[in-house]
């Protein structure tokens, strides 16, 4: 596939019919969380879209994001998107390694300077550059170097987006998010641990289709996927509203599929598309499987006060504080009370007998 071929041409060359292309567009619209009425516009745009160059950098990460993207979805329509893009560097997926791989990256950067998309997964250690290096290059300098010529950066996964688990307390590597180091490029945070695969491809498809980055929320995430909380779109929400909760993982409420709020579900403060897009080809998502949401697409989710502690519960021992306060209060109260009693007793002692001659001011003085 040559670099100046449009997507439409590339697909036709692969023997894909117009009907197949329309199906591809419908699936892409669904993937981008766009309404089906947008399909004709998407078809027109994709027809003319040029295949972009993509460089994928993996830093302090577990490869879960790449797994999420590749493992369960091959071959798929999203796969086609990847066929369409030019994935010029991905050290987990590419055959080349070592200096040959780095040469490929540098070549792609040079060739597509200012136009390529940089995808990053994993957080970047800042405490010591030696904590994570690729071909002897520290993550930080590789990111800064590669970001220079990027048209946009997609931070895939919570580690790249917000620091994620490497940044969890006590953050030994001084891990930071992409957005902590790069300030002058558009950054799209595709958070999640891992993110929903279609969200990754959806963002790429959006860029491919419209040549722009999608509308983002305050945390830099595409609103199309992160616009609503898990809680708001959760099929168990009616149970929350009715006040029906599972109290343990094996009680009647759990078996009946009641709300998992009491078991620590972070759905109310977590924004992601799990409840509608779901996982594994739309099969299920954690809450459907009976486990509370961990809030993995939110910053600092690992340090959020316990996965199984309900959001409204205190994170410190309040009972003990209250008991101590009662004790201290009783002591202080008795002390104050004793002072008051002494004062009142003094007042009683000071009291001079009142006679009818004491009822007027200065009656004696006259």
């Amino acid at each position: 596939m040559s670099k100046d071929e449009t997507l439409g041409e590339a697909l036709r060359r692969q023997g894909i019919t117009r009907r197949g292309f329309l199906k591809f567009c419908a699936a892409t619209a669904s993937m981008m969380a766009l309404p089906p009425s947008m399909v004709p516009a998407i078809a027109a745009a994709l027809e003319k879209a040029m295949r972009p160059s993509v460089i994928w950098l993996s830093f302090q990460e577990c490869t879960g994001c790449t797994e999420s993207l590749t493992r369960s979805h091959s071959p798929t329509v999203e796969g086609l998107i990847f066929d369409t893009i030019s994935l010029d560097y991905h050290h987990t997926l590419q055959a080349a390694s070592g200096s040959a791989a780095e040469a490929a990256r540098e070549a792609a950067m040079e060739e597509n300077y200012g136009k390529y998309i940089l995808v990053v997964d994993g957080s970047i250690p800042t405490a010591n550059p030696g904590y994570s290096t690729i071909a002897g290059i520290s993550n930080k300098s590789m990111l800064l170097d590669t970001a220079k010529g990027a048209a946009a950066i997609v931070a895939v996964g919570t580690c790249a987006a917000y620091g994620g688990i490497p940044k969890a307390k006590p953050n030994p590597t001084g891990a930071v998010a992409v957005s902590d180091l790069i300030k002058d490029k558009p950054i799209i945070n595709v958070s999640g641990c891992p993110p929903i695969p279609v969200v990754i491809t959806g963002v790429l498809a959006h860029f491919l289709t419209f040549g722009t980055i999608p509308e983002l929320d305050a945390l830099g995430r595409p609103k199309a996927y992160y616009g609503q909380s898990i809680h708001d779109r959760c099929y168990r929400r009616p149970f929350y509203d009715k006040g029906l909760f599972a109290n343990t993982f094996d009680d009647e409420g759990a078996k009946k599929g009641w709300c998992l709020y009491k078991l620590g579900c972070k759905g109310p403060t977590t924004y992601n598309a799990c409840a509608t897009t779901k996982w594994n080809e739309g099969t299920s998502f954690p809450i459907e499987a009976g486990h509370p949401c961990l809030g993995c697409s939110e910053p600092d989710f690992w340090d959020g006060g316990g996965f199984y502690k309900a959001l409204s519960m205190p994170t410190e021992d309040i009972t003990r504080a209250a008991v101590y306060a009662v004790g201290a209060g009783a002591a202080a109260g008795v002390a104050l009370g004793a002072m008051n009693r002494a004062k009142k007793a003094r007042a009683v002692k000071t009291h001079e007998k009142v006679t009818i001659n004491d009822l007027e001011k200065g009656a004696d003085d006259d």
Partner: protein
Amino acid sequence: MHMPDVTPAMELKVETADALTCNVQPLLHEIRHALARLLDEGGHTVIDLRSLPLAPGEEQQLLDELGNGEVYARLHALGPTEIIESRYPGVWIVVHYNSSDEVIGKFIEVCDIPNLLRSQQADIQQGLEQLQAQLPAAIN
């Protein structure tokens, strides 16, 4: 040593309440409105089932409500696609699969015929060219 009785098999019974999100009825009404619009103005409506929060079983409930009508079509374009007319003429259920038979999209279309069923202009053109190439002495 006394061994306690072990329950032979763990029973896993997950009950799902009926119409948990209560989204099935509103969807059916939406389809009804779309059908009326189709009759009056010829308007074409597509509902993406992936964009809706549905409880386990609710999607099946909806499909059961719609039932199967006269048309069943299976296309092969970038993997199979099933297009079924429901028992309500004009209401179609369109399910796209990839080449591994995994569902990649599920839609309800309200129209006289889903666009995907029609032969596409570009494909006809291509077909014509192929046919012409097939025939050695075509009469122009």
